[in-house]
Subunit: 357 residues, 4 copies
Amino acid sequence: MSTDSRIPLVVLGATGMVGQRAVSLLRDHPWFRLAALAASERSAGRTYAEACRWLLPGEPYGGAGDLPVLPCDPAAVTEAARGTGVALSALTSDAAREIEPAFAEAGWHVVSNASTYREDADVPLIIPEVNPDHLGLVERQPWAGSLVTNPNCTTMPVVIALAPLHRAVGIEAVTVASYQALSGAGYPGESAWDMIGNVRPHPGNEEAKLTTEPRKVLGTLGSDGVRPADFAISARCVRVPVADGHLVAVHVRTREPLAPAEAEVLLAGFDGGIEAPTAPRPLIHVLQERDRPSPRWDAGAGHGMAVTVGRVETCPVMGLKLFALAHNTLRGAAGAALINAELLVTSGRLPRPVSAP
Amino acid sequence: MSTDSRIPLVVLGATGMVGQRAVSLLRDHPWFRLAALAASERSAGRTYAEACRWLLPGEPYGGAGDLPVLPCDPAAVTEAARGTGVALSALTSDAAREIEPAFAEAGWHVVSNASTYREDADVPLIIPEVNPDHLGLVERQPWAGSLVTNPNCTTMPVVIALAPLHRAVGIEAVTVASYQALSGAGYPGESAWDMIGNVRPHPGNEEAKLTTEPRKVLGTLGSDGVRPADFAISARCVRVPVADGHLVAVHVRTREPLAPAEAEVLLAGFDGGIEAPTAPRPLIHVLQERDRPSPRWDAGAGHGMAVTVGRVETCPVMGLKLFALAHNTLRGAAGAALINAELLVTSGRLPRPVSAP
Amino acid sequence: MSTDSRIPLVVLGATGMVGQRAVSLLRDHPWFRLAALAASERSAGRTYAEACRWLLPGEPYGGAGDLPVLPCDPAAVTEAARGTGVALSALTSDAAREIEPAFAEAGWHVVSNASTYREDADVPLIIPEVNPDHLGLVERQPWAGSLVTNPNCTTMPVVIALAPLHRAVGIEAVTVASYQALSGAGYPGESAWDMIGNVRPHPGNEEAKLTTEPRKVLGTLGSDGVRPADFAISARCVRVPVADGHLVAVHVRTREPLAPAEAEVLLAGFDGGIEAPTAPRPLIHVLQERDRPSPRWDAGAGHGMAVTVGRVETCPVMGLKLFALAHNTLRGAAGAALINAELLVTSGRLPRPVSAP
Amino acid sequence: MSTDSRIPLVVLGATGMVGQRAVSLLRDHPWFRLAALAASERSAGRTYAEACRWLLPGEPYGGAGDLPVLPCDPAAVTEAARGTGVALSALTSDAAREIEPAFAEAGWHVVSNASTYREDADVPLIIPEVNPDHLGLVERQPWAGSLVTNPNCTTMPVVIALAPLHRAVGIEAVTVASYQALSGAGYPGESAWDMIGNVRPHPGNEEAKLTTEPRKVLGTLGSDGVRPADFAISARCVRVPVADGHLVAVHVRTREPLAPAEAEVLLAGFDGGIEAPTAPRPLIHVLQERDRPSPRWDAGAGHGMAVTVGRVETCPVMGLKLFALAHNTLRGAAGAALINAELLVTSGRLPRPVSAP
């Protein structure tokens, strides 16, 4: 291991649903080595296998069951990792408030899935295939390290499906309805009693996030920060009894007319151009079956990092409508943070490891 | 039974999901007596208990297990019923094409849940609480009897929630996303393999129905027929693993501004004024909990005949948004046809039975 | 209300899943009036509607939303109820430990669903239709009031199905496998993530309860207490994604041979003879369909108080096998406690209210 | 492809649930090349992508979407495959009756998942890790080729868990209760209406198969055929709303006492010794968590070919009890047939391809 030139990476909040996905993704990553796991004080001091109830199919603890769980303390983590590197944050928004800046201050590059700082003027909200240039915002940050965020899991399929359309003809207005999977609520998350044979409107602030995040991601970076894209967007969010995969029904009005067939060409051809281990090829799968995308079949597309789109059709109200789907804890959370970490490498902000292609 | 002055009623298509609901609703109905059951040739000649796999909780066969199942032949049915009366049609759209006019021709008043004739210029599409006056269209029908239809199960909560708003300020545009229950697909309907832990876009023409039916129901009856209401509407329809109850997320633009609180007052106060055994009081329940309406809790409101509405909120795109829910095989199918039959009585087109209040 | 001669009844633990079922059952009960609601200190001081998230379909709060929630303190409850009466305990086993004896001491007749005292030598474990004579055990209790328990929700269908066979020919050995509904875990209970498209072995001590409780209920009351029935029983318990209704697969060896048809006659004819408002007629429904009993269809039999049995067949290992099903929060919990309260009346231990039949 | 020395393999019944699993498993198989696909006349003449609705996650059509679908006719298949080889039959039991002997007659080695010939005296019923020697039965078959069957999907976890115990101390009696996944019913299989939030006793002859198949697999091959193992076994079979993975609760009486810890050692150490591409290592995973095995987590163990066992405990009735789980369409069907084909190679009945290890 002494010759391992890969960048040290710590997962903050490693014991939760998203943290576990992150740990699993890091198995044999070519650029990052899983250098440490950190979680709440309650878990600290135990091994990962002791500290967490493993929630995923496949190899328990992502092969990291013997790693000690550290507290979310920059000094302790830096020591264990033998230096700084990437801190992938799967923290709750409350926990992130103090911990993430502390890690950035200590020189760590924080790629965060928490919502806490997404709307902060100096913190970029990034999907590498969509707005990698927003990474420039970190120049305005006061820390030795940096803080980059990714959008929430429901925003993800919406923005990736809208991005090529917005680029081509401009978007004017959007209505969204979501069909959100259980894993989006974390663990234990929703009560089985509430969800069995049932769907329920999301009682939290998910709809509010959908009115702001897409506009920031699709916004323009200028000298004074990110100017949000100029369109209105409104959402209805509903939890459904699906394990993984957020489906969204999107009605969209574009600034110039766009036929469904044209939209499909734009969608299928869009990939953002990032060359990174976690970037799927293609980014968007355009399906033709009338009952797709459908989470149990399509959430795993591109190892859970691709977006599937279907039923691109004319809408008599808004002009265009479509369904889009993304795996909410991979593309929409753990994978979103990881690919942001990879962007730090491809953009030159972190040195490319020797073993990298 | 010789002194039973109630109107004879036959259920056409009695063995399917909707037919079974209809039979259950007719147990001890004050105005109608279940005079005969009719179904496809395959079932004819057997008792109801022999001919159908009972699909509902509660008393098997709605207490009618010993009734013989007749073919859908007007002469046979008229003889068995000792006269004509109401034919409640739960037929498939294919079967309805010939059978319903034949019954109307033979003097039966057909109240149909089939989609076949809903868009026919001379056939009213009625929700008694919304557009009872459209019943006047039957004057244009050539038959000794008549044919009245009800909207499809997904249209139902949409229209009932829109009706009071349309009446008050006019509707300009609507986008809808549906969360449709399994019973809407009939039996056997969806494969469990497709639906377990899954949702799937509805591959049929459900979305098309939602662009036409609401406009006809909310349209204006003139001397030359029904002029559809002048608004655009677009829908995305998705099947979800819920037993009963179609939830819809509705974004609506009204012709004059309408605050959520005003909309709630309009909704809660709307009841259409029909006094009939199957008409719920209130018609619309306006809920305040942020995670409601939700099918497992709310589909049974008003014995499955009420509509529940929740989360009436401002929408930055369309102005207003809300969720609405209706039991799809009761308010949205069997009950919809039955209350149309009751409208025939309250409107004076059928004689009110002596036992009626 | 001043002329209401009904017996005051308080629900202890009124805010949980079983407590809510109990409150619902007490609406318009002919013998008992809901005199007070009590719950943990956290809930005390609020109205019932404020203190609980209502978990059931139908009328919220069982119509008792305005009642104040008291602490589980005998003095406070006695004052509110204007005297003592029946305390229906839906407490957790921990909470029951001190609270139930305190109420019995204060003169209340406690009918408890908690497992805490079920195995206590001086506490009867009763199903009124099976072993009403065990009520005599309360003579040995030191309190002004009394304490009676009912078996756990999985034991219930097992014992009711075994009782007539045991009485007729004696039981020698039993193996059971359960298919247990979500409501048995209370609220929030199981995580939806764990249960969606999944079943899981019950990690608690449910299997242990099934080796002791059936033998006590079917045991013999003698001068020195209850002698457990002399048979061995072993169970495997599994949670399944069903809302309500515990299904059990039972293999049974009887002391004398018993043909399936004979067993069916015994089952169908067994009713225990109690005449009480909550006692179903018949007690056991013997079904002939090969895919029954099945929880969604059959859990509601007899208003949730009947047991359904099916597939009574020869077993090459044990001699006889069958499926049995009972609604776990009605017959298996809230209704079990309530019918035990009714037994206190029919047995003469509590005065029969004037309004009773 | 001209240098491809792998054995040609045709999948009979390629369009169904099990056929699709088989096709997926054959992608890049080291010993077999997918030489042809065959199905009913209805599908013949179309490409595989045209002929089937793809039912599995992952790559559609297992990469074989362009292959033509042939009728199940030995001559046509032999011509397309340029010779005979292995015919993996995923046919229904009805279709298998004539087709399988016809292929065996034509020189094909049929490895069948159909139940049709499992109980035939001259047809081996094989799990390679358990009774590979039964392959000798094919000597008694009249065909140029041969016919080998595998047990049904519910028998599979039962027999694999019992085999090491039977070998060590002998089994005397077994009671089983199953929790069977939806994919076991094929497609469309169970109606979603029947299964949502529900479980239902299996109405077919599944329980009968469980009384005979385990005894044949664990039986002894002698000069006059297979003598079934001498134990009694009885089962209750229930369908549960799980996608894949049959769980069984097993109570077992052994001929000599066996402590749970001893049983665990036997189970964990049992692998049957076959070295083949589809054989998992280990064969049996013994889990210690009290809520395992559980299908969503464990059905995929060993790429769906391993069996997971848990909760090995003392049973007061039978002596020992445990849970076992196997993926029903992999280990219990398509993989079972494929590993039987591999046994034909490891046993020398088919030539080992050059490319094989």
